[in-house]
Subunit: 305 residues, 2 copies
Amino acid sequence: MEIRRLRYFLAVAEELHFGRAAARLDIAQPPLSRQVALLESEIGAELFDRSRSQIRLTQAGSVLREHAQRLLEQLDEAIEQTRSIGSGRAGRLRVGFSDCASFGPLPELTHAYRTRFPDVDLVLTPYGATTLARALIRGEIDLAVSRQSLADEAFRVEHLCLEPLVAAMPCRFAGEGRQLASLSLLSDWPLIVYLNPGAGQENDPILALCRSEGFDPVQCIGAPDMRAALGLVAMGAGVTLVPSSAGAACLPQVVLRPYAGRNPQVALSVGVRRDNCAPQVRQFLELCRREARSEPARPAMALLA
Amino acid sequence: MEIRRLRYFLAVAEELHFGRAAARLDIAQPPLSRQVALLESEIGAELFDRSRSQIRLTQAGSVLREHAQRLLEQLDEAIEQTRSIGSGRAGRLRVGFSDCASFGPLPELTHAYRTRFPDVDLVLTPYGATTLARALIRGEIDLAVSRQSLADEAFRVEHLCLEPLVAAMPCRFAGEGRQLASLSLLSDWPLIVYLNPGAGQENDPILALCRSEGFDPVQCIGAPDMRAALGLVAMGAGVTLVPSSAGAACLPQVVLRPYAGRNPQVALSVGVRRDNCAPQVRQFLELCRREARSEPARPAMALLA
DNA sequence: GCAATTGATACTCCAAGAGTATCAATCAGG
DNA sequence: CCTGATTGATACTCTTGGAGTATCAATTGC
């Protein structure tokens, strides 16, 4: 059974005239007659009553016509839907993000993507820092957005943006100035670290930064994520460093202060499995790159305005 | 788009292995790869992720697989249904009958047909004597069963059975004997005629029979159908002649009496348009012929037993 | 690093579909 | 009742496209 025969049959069933049907199909009449006859012998049923000059559908032909019409419509629809998904206009995109990625450009990016691709089902799932990479490896998500490094052979990682770090400290610790003259001014308070909760605190990049600035904090407190770290700061437990965009989620008891000196420009990065070449992924990443170009990282001072 | 490509694609989607899929389809692997590639370029979407040694379905492929599976099932079902109707195992058969055809072999015939072809929707519609032939001409029914003659160039007519006529008279008119010595014994009572209500009474075959037996009834009363005629007999309005099988519908005030002499053996006939070669019609008529052979008309005396 | 597996490619061959010419049957009109 | 027109079927040829064989390239597992 070939679709062509159904199409030919349907044309004849609608025109009830081999000549007109052939013209509509843009073929000659004899092959049309032949194909319909082949269809009839294939099914084993007369589809047309040719006893008069005006042909008519038999019962069997009438039923087949309805089926054929429905089938061809469904086929077109299936192809169109498949094409949409293949082009990235439709389908599904699963983005996992670690908690501290909620701040920064991700909300705007997802909004832009949804606006550009309203028929894609964008599934956003928060993950803990340790489970995000695993979800990406297992294929539970297509994209992983995180501030942690997603270094893995199987991943391709792009930076969404680079943000300077700023000091987060309780209001009552904070001095007058808008900017800390040096990061070492924080050395008297406990340092709250949170970036790699899975790994040991000793490897934390914030702690490493402090050491490179020439001091060791009096104490090091681990927190599972940035939000928890800011909570600890609000409670006066210590100080920490956060990306400047974290200001959006800052608690009233906390002030953010840029500081002079070396600033490692913490990155928000997006990871994707190298073997994932889904158009939805590709287009999301392209959108990321465009946004990154058009909207450079806000200067650290902006959040104090 | 050709069905073959969908079948090939589905095989690969299920096996996730071109070699095994090709073996299942009983073709070589290269043409299978080619056809799948052609399907992909036709749709304009990658259907398989071939980046690893183990191929996988893409989103688009996964969606197309579901559609293809459903479509192919529906196609098979459509063909099977069409085939059933074309063979006469399923479909619809519209039988019209005039009232007086309810008596005689029609009930048993329809029952036998329904038993033999349970999937055919047998539509039985009663018609008045005048509307039956019109319905057949218009194609509103496939078969017309009637005791009237359905003579028309466009019809093919077969006799279902021949039945002797018997006299129907009110109990109080009836004499002692089980059989009338002669039809002319009825000459003193009004004759009720009903066979051709559309045509004039003068052409009624019952009246003609009486005349050929050598008498004119004292009066001639028209009735629209046999049931009405028997009602008139029950009310003592006169006498009539009915097919012997009418005993089944006889009222208690009426007795049926065979009579000696010429009996025109009224026929129950079935008419069909010559251009109607539907298998349901053909098989119904074949059933009629078989029944007619296996069950000859009951002798008139039987109904008195 | 090498052998094995697996899908893609190049090329040939054949079958099936499409075109041309023509026939047969039906129907309308004189 | 005959004739011409219409319409679908048939015979034959040609071309397109699908299938087979041989082979290559890439990936994977030992």
